[in-house]
């Protein structure tokens, strides 16, 4: 059973702190949406409201078009995997998985069969009799996933389920979770502060800031066409370079006129142009075009090399180059940098008084 989930104008305050400030989010049936944002942005609060562990001060939560805002947590048919190890220590893996069915009064035989099936699904066949303390962290989270899925929930909620695991286990498990989610076609909300996790797993990523949704889009779109400077800088690496707004919705940077995407400040405003490291071309010092700069550090990353550069005007930036092109650009080398002619986002210059749009 796959359902849609709609968060409508959700508000939640804790004392004077506003955790959710009118959050709107629509999740399609069978979709995996990642809630991404810095700590304190409200992503966990949003998830806990969907789970029923928090009550919203205002707004509505709809599941399959039905208002469930006031339905208690144990009647929402939601499967949840927690950040910390949440298996019941007094029960075996099979008992943990079958707990939801036990509460629903299902027979022993059915519970046993279902636990076996789910252990198979999460790649732990034969571990029925193991207690949580006999399982590794990764295995515990697999059992926790199986337990959440055992009740065939309408919605699966994942609250940073991988953050307590080491890097390698995290990588395998996130692929597993995605495989299982696609296999079952279950509507899933996934909270994370790890952008790589969000971008690699989700159908859409919802970036949050200060209790509001900044942008919700497919990973590629989020990276290539961020809607706001915050999203641009939060997702991936971003350079801030000084530019001047000119007539016709363009900004001048290093002698190039680049079309402005998104909000356009007044003509003549001094702004920061947001450019990804791959959005800068680095050429030989005698190229003529662009801004002269000096290489400070070159970091070899395999296929690409990341150069840390300082322009003669004092701006610091990073540029990614295919490694074969970067061989000549050792630290201390002189070069010219030019931005590729793509639409760019501009932001208020860091440290400057606020812009008039």
């Amino acid at each position: 059973m796959t359902v849609s989930v709609h968060l409508k104008n959700l508000r939640r305050e804790f004392g004077s702190t506003v955790a959710l400030d009118g959050l709107d989010l629509d999740i399609a049936p069978g979709e995996l949406v990642a809630l991404l944002g810095p700590s304190g942005c409200g992503k966990t609060t949003a998830l806990r409201i969907v789970a029923g562990f928090e009550t919203a001060d205002g707004g509505e939560l709809l599941m399959d078009g039905e208002d469930v805002t006031s339905v208690p947590a144990n009647r929402r048919d939601i499967g949840m995997v927690f950040q910390s190890y949440s298996l019941f220590p007094n029960m075996t893996a099979a008992e943990n998985i079958a707990y939801g069915l036990r509460v629903r009064g299902r027979g022993t035989a059915e519970r046993k069969t279902r636990a076996g099936e789910l252990l198979e699904l999460v790649g732990l066949p034969g571990r029925e009799g193991h207690y949580p303390h006999q399982l590794s962290g990764g295995q515990q989270q697999r059992v926790a996933l199986a337990r959440a899925l055992a009740i065939s929930p309408k919605v699966l909620l994942l609250d940073e389920p991988l953050s307590a695991l080491d890097a390698k286990v995290r990588l395998t498990l996130r692929e597993e979770i995605r495989r299982i989610q696609l296999e079952l076609g279950i509507t899933t909300v996934f909270v994370t502060h790890d952008q790589e996790e969000a971008l690699s797993m989700a159908d859409r990523v919802a970036v949050m800031k200060d209790g509001r949704l900044e942008q919700c889009a497919a990973p590629g779109e989020l990276y290539d066409r961020p809607a706001t400077p915050f999203v641009a800088e939060f997702v991936g690496t971003m350079n801030r370079l000084p530019g001047t707004v000119q007539d016709g919705g363009v900004v001048e940077l290093f002698g190039r006129r680049l079309p402005i995407h998104g909000e356009r400040p007044a003509v003549g405003a001094e702004v920061d142009v947001l450019l990804r490291p791959e959005g800068l071309a680095v050429g030989a010092a005698d190229d003529g075009a662009g801004a002269p700069a000096t290489v400070r550090v070159a970091t070899f990353l395999g296929a690409t090399t990341r150069l840390h550069l300082t322009t003669d005007s004092g701006a610091a930036c990073k540029a990614d180059l295919p490694s074969w092109e970067a061989t000549a650009l050792a630290p201390g080398a002189r070069c010219m940098i030019t931005p590729h002619e793509n639409p760019v986002l501009v932001a208020e210059r860091a440290g400057a008084p606020s812009l008039k749009v």
Binding site: N74, S84, Y85, S86, F88, V103, H130
Partner: protein
């Protein structure tokens, strides 16, 4: 370092053993030493004396009732405070520790005053309540007072138990799987507090079995009061009974701790080859 450990063992342990064993040994000697030689009459015949079984059974029943009342009161309270009212934690702690600083004689003075209202309530249904509280065969009033007196023991042990588990996550996990609050408490929280529950119960039981002041002032006759009463007429029997009560207490402690240990034995880690990697993972997890 090793030498210091050895010295402490060689000196401290025998000293501690002497401190405990000499009085016990002396008591045993007193209870069997007769003019005409050693006699176990106090144990074989004396224990049939009128009142012993009744008073002992009363003490045990009072102890068990106290444990049930104390746990029914404290487990839900502490869970609720930990989950929903963390701000009240300090207040609850202070309240629960109060009986430690209120001497039982002061406590019983208050209880006596309340019980004396019985006369004024003779025409009301409360009269029966008072009668029930004071029932000679099973004085509920003692259970109530002992429950209050056991609060510090229960609080300490349950609080430690609650801090050792990730209560919020366990409760939320159970709730999301559809469990009601009562199911969560009974099937998830209590089993994981088993050691703490048993620990608190053992301490409360030991307290009730040895309590004298309150029972004596209120003129009831549990085991401790009976022992003191027969001391003048049957000194040897009184000491023999004390020895017996010591054995009973130890027996109960052993029984309860065995009950608590039941799960940990069942949970002995398996030692198959595939487990080795996992335990390594677990260690890593602990380190990180």
């Amino acid at each position: 370092m090793a030498r210091m450990k050895f010295t402490s063992r060689a000196v401290v342990l025998p000293l501690a053993a002497l401190y405990f064993l000499v009085p016990i040994g002396a008591s045993v000697w007193f209870s069997v030493n007769e003019v005409e030689g050693i006699s176990f009459d106090a144990y074989t015949q004396g224990l049939g004396t009128e009142g012993l079984t009744t008073s002992l059974m009363l003490s045990v029943r009072l102890g068990l009732a106290t444990i049930v009342c104390g746990l029914l009161l404290m487990v839900p309270t502490l869970v609720a405070v930990a989950l929903y009212l963390p701000g009240l934690r300090r207040t609850v702690e202070i309240l629960c520790m109060m009986p430690l600083v209120v001497p039982p004689i002061a406590l019983v003075a208050g209880v006596t005053t309340v019980l004396s209202w019985e006369q004024d309530l003779a025409d009301t249904p409360f009269y029966m309540t008072f009668q029930m509280l004071r029932d000679e065969n099973f004085p509920l009033v003692l259970v109530l007072v002992y429950t209050v007196m056991s609060l510090p023991f229960l609080y300490r042990s349950l609080d430690a138990g609650l801090r050792a588990v990730d209560l919020r996550t366990l409760v939320e996990a159970a709730r999301s799987l559809g469990a009601s609050r009562l199911q969560t408490l009974w099937q998830v929280i209590v089993p994981n507090l088993r050691t703490a529950v048993v620990g608190g119960a053992v301490l409360s039981l030991a307290m009730v079995l040895g309590e004298y002041t309150v029972a004596s002032v209120l003129s009831y006759r549990p085991f401790s009061v009976w022992m003191v009463e027969i001391k003048d007429s049957e000194a040897q029997l009184s000491v023999a009974a004390a020895m017996l009560s010591l054995l009973i207490t130890w027996g109960l402690l052993l029984l309860l701790t065995t009950l608590a240990g039941g799960r940990s034995r069942r949970r002995t880690p398996l030692n198959s080859g595939s487990e080795k990697r996992e335990s390594r993972d677990n260690r890593k997890k602990t380190v990180s």
